[in-house]
Amino acid sequence: MGETAWDTANRWVTAARFAVTMLVGLVRVSTGSRRTWPMATWRQLHELGTTALPVVLLLTGLIGLTLALLMGQQLAQYGASIHLATLMGVAFIREVGPLLTAVILAGRSGSAITAELASMKVQEEVDALRTMGADEASFLVAPRLLALVLSTPILALLASICGILAGLVIAMVQLGISSDTYFQVLLEAVEAKDILFLWLKSAVFASIIAFLACRIGLATHGGSDAVGRATTKTVVAGIFWTVIADCIFALVLYL
């Protein structure tokens, strides 16, 4: 029992230390006191952000269609079809857009980061970088963290818009609501602070995913089987902690 508590405490201390190292690495790269490969952040932005766009838009669009269809039928029974716009706006901007984007990125980008770093670790590339004087937090972690934090809010916003547009399709086709009316009701329901919170939540989710993916990747030991295990661990931990963070946000912002 005591040993388990000690191990848990040790894990949290190590995690906290890694978080500090990660932030220091980010500051060092931002201030130019440590160097990474030129354009590394741009490359990561492309790989973690741009290439994730189609799957994020497709999935949020499909979920938007499904939700709008189900909610539209219920609202129509009470003669409140017009409120589909309200529900879609509030649900997607405040919750579904950021959360679904984060879950997709935890599975896609988080696993990609872990797989890459874990492979580098087991193939001694990380050791080689250290012997060259590279600081792994600046060279490897900072570009990935920065890329995810910058791209996730944009992806979440686009995902929310995609979900809302899917709602518009259902509103027009199934409920006979015009696009003008849909957007008018939508803009009345959604406030500027909702967009701000979307941005903030997404940035926090991105930090959690980047932190876990880099930490698990760089802590990998062993052979190629260890890479597989690390990747799975990142996906599970990424989704778990993102949902926990989302719940905390909901309690703090909307309770």
């Binding site: 001694e124 080689a128 012997t131």
Partner: protein, 258 residues
């Protein structure tokens, strides 16, 4: 003990190094000295502590006790003065060969376009890899990867080169070419070389002195002829079994014991 007072000229001086993982002690007070321009070979059976010793010298692990003095300094390693050739090359797979070789210079603040590229191209030509500038590590053979990694290790003009089993996974011909290349570079650049290897051909070609480790302790420290004439039985047997294929089957009692 102050190593510098007894061996002021050593490029690398390791004194009474104790190291391990967790509570398991791997190195039990190992000492090693490498003179400037010398090729020193570390050898021994699997698990004897060669890699742990190298990792401690390179600062990748923290020793339990003892001192490590590199090029007159026992402070933090000056990365520009050492080069490391890892077992599988350890090239960064997302960068091209040219970018890999430029990497140490970029980390020093040299712009990739211009001076860094010029130096990197020269080093790649020196290891006969000039044609591979735009290739990715995944497109190279094992021998080419090692040569590219060697170019990267030498791009900062280090004074000591550490090589971890450079012949591992290479055919005999490629292995010999790499050995010749190492010797050529040592002669032209005046490097000290610390080589971890099991390959007898490499040891014969390159070793000026060997350090034989067994169960974390130094079993023999001296030249190869001395090892063959006056070394402990285990060391003689190590060479005998590798020299004569007929002796490849265990012949002594301790070898068949668990």
């Amino acid at each position: 003990m102050n190593a510098s007072s007894t061996h002021p000229e050593a490029a690398l001086s390791v004194r009474n190094l104790r190291a391990g993982y967790g509570s398991r002690e791997i190195l039990k007070g190992v000492s090693l000295e490498v003179m400037p321009g010398e090729i020193r070979v570390l050898l021994g059976g699997s698990g004897c502590g060669k890699s742990t010793m190298l990792r401690n010298i390179l600062g990748l692990e923290k020793p339990w006790s003892g001192s490590i003095r590199i090029l007159g300094s026992d402070g933090p390693i000056e990365h520009g003065r050492i080069g490391v050739l890892f077992q599988n090359g350890a090239l960064v797979t997302s960068l091209t060969v040219g970018q890999n070789v430029m990497l140490p210079l970029v980390l020093d603040g040299v712009a990739p376009k211009g001076a860094a590229e010029e130096v990197a191209r020269a080093r790649l030509s020196q290891v006969r890899m000039g044609h591979a500038w735009n290739l990715f590590p995944g497109e190279l053979s094992g021998g080419m990867r090692k040569r590219a990694a060697l170019a990267r290790a030498l791009v900062r003009e280090p004074r000591i080169l550490f090589c971890d089993e450079p012949s591992a996974g290479l055919d005999p011909l490629t292995s010999r070419e790499l050995d010749e290349l190492l010797q050529e570079l040592r002669d032209s650049l005046g490097l000290s070389v610390v080589l971890v290897t099991h390959e007898l051909d490499s040891i014969r070609t390159l070793a000026e002195r060997i350090l034989y480790l067994h169960q974390g302790e130094v079993l023999f420290d001296g030249t190869l002829p001395d090892a063959l004439d006056h070394g402990p039985d285990r060391v003689k047997d190590f060479f005998a079994r590798r020299t004569d294929p007929a002796n490849a089957i265990p012949t002594t009692t301790w070898e068949v014991l668990p």
